[in-house]
Symmetry: C2
Subunit: 99 residues, 2 copies
DNA sequence: GTCCATACTTGCAAAAAACAAGTGTATTGT
DNA sequence: ACAATACACTTGTTTTTTGCAAGTATGGAC
């Protein structure tokens, strides 16, 4: 199993990288993520559970029954990969006319 | 739609990035990819069609009924992102004992 | 106590992926 | 000429994942 396979097992599922990208802007609550990304609520709940289990993020209890999701060091370390993919995606769109 | 979303629309599907990673080592034939990655054959065919349509790779006819798949410039430009994800995946595995 | 917000869960349908088997074309061996 | 083999796929069918809609649990605010 390659290093890339190992990475994709954790963040290869749909929505996973988008959730991490959103959290790179700072800790956010469930509803914030949902509104920002448009993720179906059951998928968001599932992904957050998996990413927490993988040590990418943690739940921080706020007041009442609310909590914030925040990236761990491991999660923050995805910034480089996310930026690289984002740059590629941007280049992609520049030359769209040709396709 | 963010740049990351644009990128994931092209290479976010299962197997897509693994196929590109494999082709970073040079043009290869269908059977080579299948053996190297263990991809189900119908999925491999589907992904190759999609990646070709997206301009990530091209089919090069060899002799007879064989062809090689080779990355375009756009495909080669994924190297940075793949390397970054691979490095993250490798770090991930170093600290596995804790989970 | 009623209303609202937040953070989910549950049930079901649709889409995607995996598995298994088969097809068409050319090549090699006899 | 004919059988056996290689290559690049396609075609069903089952299983898994995703999406949609609705409902539940908890904690204030009024």
């Amino acid at each position: 199993m390659s290093d890339l396979t190992a990475a994709l097992e954790v963040v290869g599922a749909r929505w996973a990288l988008l959730i991490v990208e959103q959290l790179l802007e700072g800790p956010q609550r469930y509803g914030d993520l949902q509104r920002a990304l448009g993720t179906p609520t059951n998928m968001l709940a599932t992904r957050l559970r998996e990413l927490e289990a993988a040590g990418v993020l943690v739940r921080l209890p706020l007041r009442h029954n609310t909590r914030a999701y925040a990236l761990t060091d491991r999660g923050l370390a995805l910034r480089e990969a996310i930026d690289a993919l984002g740059r590629w995606g941007a280049e992609q769109r520049e030359g769209d006319s040709g396709r």
